[in-house]
């Protein structure tokens, strides 16, 4: 891809936990307006990579570039400040609060003054705007999140990550444990994120979903890059081969003679 346009790029990312080399020299670029799928078997280093990008893990060596400038990601705060939002698999929503309260949790809009009085009108209006832009389907912004379906909860969690106006959004297994219709909702939401010119990183086990939304597919295997595919040109067998390590050899063999 054209390196200058990348919103987030990383070079030689290495991370080990004791004797375990979780990431070994990973290079990756995320462009605005593209969905990058991050796939790999269990233990391939997907979670470690996501946590490194979101600042939960500090990397051993390697560089991050934000819009071409070298940056260091030292903690979740610095990742958020750059404009990287992460939606974790367990969503972290409060079931007893309504959608508006969850969207603004920890970043409530206040009327002002020392009393910290909530500006419910402003928050509700902003929630409407955001959810309408994303075509999120929920009964009402005042519905308790506990009464929503899994797909709706996922959409609320994604919408919340957008409140800080990020440029890169990472979604960890967004369609795991969702039914067919709900998965379709979430996938179409991911496409709308792309339309908003965000760089989207989707971690998924489900290759059908990956092929449905992704522009590029990045395969991790044992902490290393095992392949980068254009979703339109690749086949599922090729990706599976890269994940399991079966086809890497054959491709290299094909090139070598």
């Amino acid at each position: 891809m054209n390196g200058n346009a990348a919103v987030l790029a990383m070079k030689g990312i290495t991370k080990s936990f004791g004797p375990v080399q979780a990431l070994d020299g990973v290079d990756l670029e995320v462009n605005p307006g593209e969905v990058l799928a991050l796939v790999g078997d269990n233990g391939a280093g997907k979670s470690t990579l996501v946590k490194s990008i979101s600042g939960i893990n500090t990397i051993d060596s390697g560089e991050f570039y934000w819009q071409g400038q070298p940056v260091s990601i030292s903690g979740p705060g610095s990742a958020t400040e750059l404009g990287i939002a992460t939606v974790y698999q367990d969503l972290a929503l409060c079931d007893n609060l309504d959608v508006v309260a969850n969207l603004f949790l920890g970043q409530e809009k206040l009327v002002g003054g020392p009393a910290m009085v909530l500006d419910e009108t402003a928050m509700e209006r902003r929630s409407h705007e955001l959810l309408e832009q994303l075509s999120v389907t929920i009964p009402s912004v005042r519905s308790e999140v506990g009464t929503l379906s899994g797909g709706q909860r996922q959409q609320v969690a994604v919408a919340r990550s957008l409140l800080g106006e990020p440029k890169v959004v990472m979604l960890d297994e967004p369609t795991a444990a969702l039914g067919v219709a709900q998965t379709a909702q979430v996938l179409s939401l991911i496409k709308r994120l792309r339309e908003r010119d965000l760089g989207v990183i989707v971690i998924s086990h489900n290759l059908a979903d990956v092929f449905e939304v992704a522009d590029r597919i990045f395969v991790l295997r044992l902490g290393r890059k095992a392949g980068m595919f254009e979703a339109k040109q690749a086949t599922e067998e090729q990706v599976v081969g890269a994940i399991t390590g079966a086809s890497v050899d054959t491709e290299e063999q094909r090139r070598q003679p």
Binding site: Y88, N96, E124
Partner: protein
């Protein structure tokens, strides 16, 4: 969240509606109707006792009833804050006694002015809450263990502070004014008029502001019903109180704390964070909320309110003695908000429920005293009511869980 869940909204559905009538109805059922249920229960209790003893619904007895619940009500307000974050404070009874003793000893034995002594009593409660909250969060010990141990410590401290005599008489002190001041008829009516006007203006003003901003509003009819109901209750209460001794200061103190904490919990970021910590501490933490800070503040406010309740109780009793803060005070203060819909499991409830629940409990105990029931019967009935309240809470929780899947 199960695979294959039937989904309520397919991808092609229309975008979110502005107001969903079904959702509005559900909120009404959970909000106003929950209160209405408790108010109905109070009505039934009153009718039963009135049919057994026609002195129950006299102005004098109702005034006494409300004076009797001020201590429980004030302590229960603090308990609500701790229940909202999904914890419990078993030390409030002992803290109320100890704080009152500190106040009484300072004022009576050391000649400290009333206002300073009261402040010292409340401060004692605040420090206790701070310490217990710190121990609970720092060492992640279950809150009931910390506060149960605290309860014993503060009971001991109460005995220690009272000294050899074991009782401090407050009868010549200004402290008794708190529970024994009654205002004249005119004051009561003016207060009622102001309260109704402010309530109506805030309710309708909020409606207009929300409507102008184009966000969800509650039906105007519901708001009008609420204003009329509030006005009716206020006028009836003032009429009853005026036909006895007048509006008591103690009840105004209770109402002021209930309104203040109701606003704090529903209108401020701090209140929102209390609910968030009670709903999911992990979600709150990830959202950047200082969960430890919120917890310590909740325990501090709870113990402070216990001290306020203890001071009112002492003022009414005209003394602090070795049994101050003892007997059923602790359990009744916890039961009051639970009876009126505040969950023991955290994240659900309101300060308002402390007042409603205290009225239920106060009515039952007042009525049973009026009927001169034996202690054995009174204990069993009180226990039964508490158990019923907890069962209702648990049932509501399991029903929410099954509904949660939609």
């Amino acid at each position: 969240m199960k695979v294959g869940d039937p989904d309520v909204a397919a991808p092609g559905d229309a975008p979110a509606e502005r107001t969903s009538p079904r959702d509005m109805l559900r909120r009404f059922l959970q909000g106003d109707l929950a209160s209405l249920r408790v108010i109905l229960a109070i009505a039934v209790i009153w009718i039963i006792f009135q049919s057994q003893n026609d002195r129950f619904l006299t102005a004098t007895n109702l005034t006494n009833l409300f004076l009797q619940i001020t201590a429980i009500g004030l302590i229960a307000v603090g308990i609500v804050l701790v229940l909202l974050i999904g914890e419990i404070d078993l030390s409030v009874g002992a803290v109320s006694g100890f704080a009152a003793a500190v106040m009484a000893v300072l004022n009576v034995k050391h000649g400290v002015p009333v206002v300073v002594a009261i402040a010292a009593g409340v401060g004692t409660g605040a420090i206790i809450g701070l310490v217990q909250g710190f121990l609970f969060t720092k060492f992640t010990i279950p809150s009931f263990v910390v506060t149960l141990a605290g309860s014993l410590v503060w009971q001991g401290a109460l005995l220690k502070v009272l000294g050899d005599t074991g009782t401090v008489n407050l009868s010549n002190s200004g402290i008794t004014d708190l529970a024994n001041t009654f205002y004249g008829d005119a004051f009561g009516w003016i207060l009622a008029a102001v309260a109704i006007a402010v309530f109506a203006l805030l309710t309708l003003g909020g409606y207009r502001r929300r409507a102008a901003a184009g966000v969800t509003t509650e039906p105007i009819a519901l708001l009008l019903v609420r204003i009329v109901a509030m006005a009716a209750v206020t006028i009836a209460a003032v009429a009853i109180l005026n036909s006895d001794r007048g509006v008591p200061l103690a009840i105004l103190i209770l109402l002021a704390f209930v309104i203040g904490f109701q606003l704090l919990t529903t209108r401020t970021a701090f209140g929102r964070h209390l609910f968030a910590v009670g709903g999911s501490a992990e979600a709150a933490r990830r959202a950047g909320i200082g969960v430890t800070k919120i917890r310590i503040i909740a325990f501090t406010l709870c113990s402070s309110m216990a001290a306020v309740g203890g001071i009112l109780a002492a003022s009414r009793l005209l003394a602090v003695n070795q049994s101050s803060g003892g007997s059923n005070l602790l359990l009744e203060s916890i039961a009051a908000p639970v009876i009126a819909g505040t969950s023991l499991f955290g994240g659900r409830g309101s300060v308002w429920s402390a007042l409603l629940g205290a009225t239920v409990i106060g009515s039952i105990s007042n009525g049973m005293n009026l009927l001169a029931l034996e202690s054995s019967v009174k204990l069993m009935i009180t226990g039964g009511v508490l158990l019923a309240a907890v069962v209702v809470d648990a049932l509501a929780r399991s029903r929410r869980r099954s509904e949660g899947r939609v």
